[in-house]
Symmetry: C2
Subunit: 293 residues, 2 copies
């Protein structure tokens, strides 16, 4: 029997913008796909393409060798994984559960401990790269857990991402993703303040970007979000409400570790203000709207 | 007579790390070079290579078709350009004076007005790209002033930089440079906080950088300063004391325009704290030292 014919069955939970693209890539690579989602309608395209629908996470876990989850919040993750009807209690023996949600490192450690007691493996493996990265299989995947477990699932993760790095034990993937979000938070602050100053000084934002984008101020945020801000395009690449969630987790973890991050705190408070003004479903670059100058 | 044989005489004032490399490039390109510097010793290598030394800015101005200055602070610029012994009062008729110091936009406007009254032209043309960019002639040059004046000096500026962009009238070059510094300020804050969090979480900084450097957090500061921070290398690329000067100018200009920039204010206060601890001659990445977590 050909090795390529015995691909493990993958259960996929969380068919949002990211998850739907990721699940479709796994199906296209030939993995038997099992799906569950809170809103069934989002699973229909995958079901039509051959995926098996399950009415509960429990049923999905029973049918899968590997389960991938990418959902909203740590509470959603906790509800999926823990309890009698959860993934850990109902996973096949030696199954690998991979949580790709940006979630809490402490929760990731907790899940790993629960899973180990049942002979099940958990990896925390949040991603960056956005909807485009998910569609094109070019995500960065930051992994926490055991190296041998990662080795087992690496072929399928390679359908999703090009940069897969084991960062340490359980929770280390989540910690790394939070580092990423912490860097982005103040970087976006700098981009918005630089462009607010430019507008205030009567400069043309695009002309400024053409001068500074290739230098020491340059980077993904300035070079991708700067031109959108210059055009007044505040459509979501990444929703403000999701960014606020990530910054809240980062803040809580940092506080737990006794780590003061005044930049993160400032940016969080500014986005909170923006959310109160009703901009939760705008893209993160809408931080610029707070600058009246 | 061959056009290339009648290159204009260039006066150069300010032979620091940046200026010395820039002046040497102009001399190498065949421009007759006249030099003045507060500390004469720094001019010796250029004098040995054929540059003419002048004991005062006045004497230098009288001998030059174009004068380039790149000195320390707006006060230094003001002292050089204004007054009976200054560059404007003593420049040749129709001369072009180019201030490449990072300085005050308001001062740049003031110099342009004074110069116009004497039939002399001034451009503000601060740069970014650091010592390496200066050595290799790959600076970004942000120009404020008249397009026809820029056109006259563009051939010599092309010896210094690859990205020369006219941003608007007098002061617009300085405003653009301040935008650059404002973006860098909070970006550096994000880089330091992300890596402080990483250390606190027990992650390996280099491994974190390998995961996040190519994504939405990536950019010049993370990818160049991040590895230095990870190695504990706080040697100066750009001195903290110079960055504080730039942020002070940016803050004053922003305040003057009624533009509130809380990120800039926070970063300034943190660098001030660092300066009070004695780190003025470290590189800007030493902001990381403030994070004890």
């Amino acid at each position: 029997m050909n090795q390529s014919a015995i691909k493990p069955a993958i259960g996929f939970i969380g068919l949002g913008i990211m998850g739907a693209s990721m699940a479709a890539r796994l199906a296209a690579a030939g993995y038997p796909l099992h799906v569950y989602n809170r809103t069934r309608a989002k699973a229909e395209p995958l079901i039509e393409a051959g995926a098996s629908w399950h009415a509960t996470p429990k049923a999905l876990a029973e049918a899968s060798d590997v389960v991938i989850t990418i959902v909203g919040t740590p509470d959603d993750v906790s509800a999926l994984y823990l309890g009698d009807d959860g993934l850990i209690a109902n996973a096949r023996r030696d199954a690998v559960l991979i949580d790709m949600t940006t979630s809490s490192p402490q929760l990731a450690e907790e899940l790993a401990t629960h899973a180990a007691a049942r002979g099940v493996h958990v990896l925390d493996a949040p991603v960056s790269g956005g909807d485009v990265g998910a569609r094109e299989g070019r995500l960065s995947i930051m992994v926490g857990g055991a190296a041998d477990v990662l080795a087992r699932v690496e072929p399928m993760l390679r359908c999703l991402g090009t940069n897969i790095v084991l960062q340490g034990g359980p929770g280390a993937g989540q910690h790394t993703k939070l580092c990423n979000q912490i860097v982005i938070a103040s970087t976006m602050l700098g981009v918005c303040e630089g462009l607010a100053y430019a507008r205030s000084a009567g400069l043309d934002a695009q002309t400024v970007l053409s001068a500074i984008g290739g230098g020491a101020a340059g980077g993904f945020q300035l070079n991708n979000m700067g031109p959108r801000i210059a055009k007044g395009d505040f459509a979501p690449g990444f929703f403000i409400e999701h960014f606020i969630k990530d910054m809240r987790i980062a803040h809580e973890e940092a506080a737990h570790m006794g780590c003061e991050l005044p930049g993160l705190d400032l940016v969080r408070s500014l986005y909170q203000e923006l959310a109160e003004q009703g901009f939760t479903r705008n893209g993160t670059q809408a931080l610029f709207k707070l600058y009246e100058c």
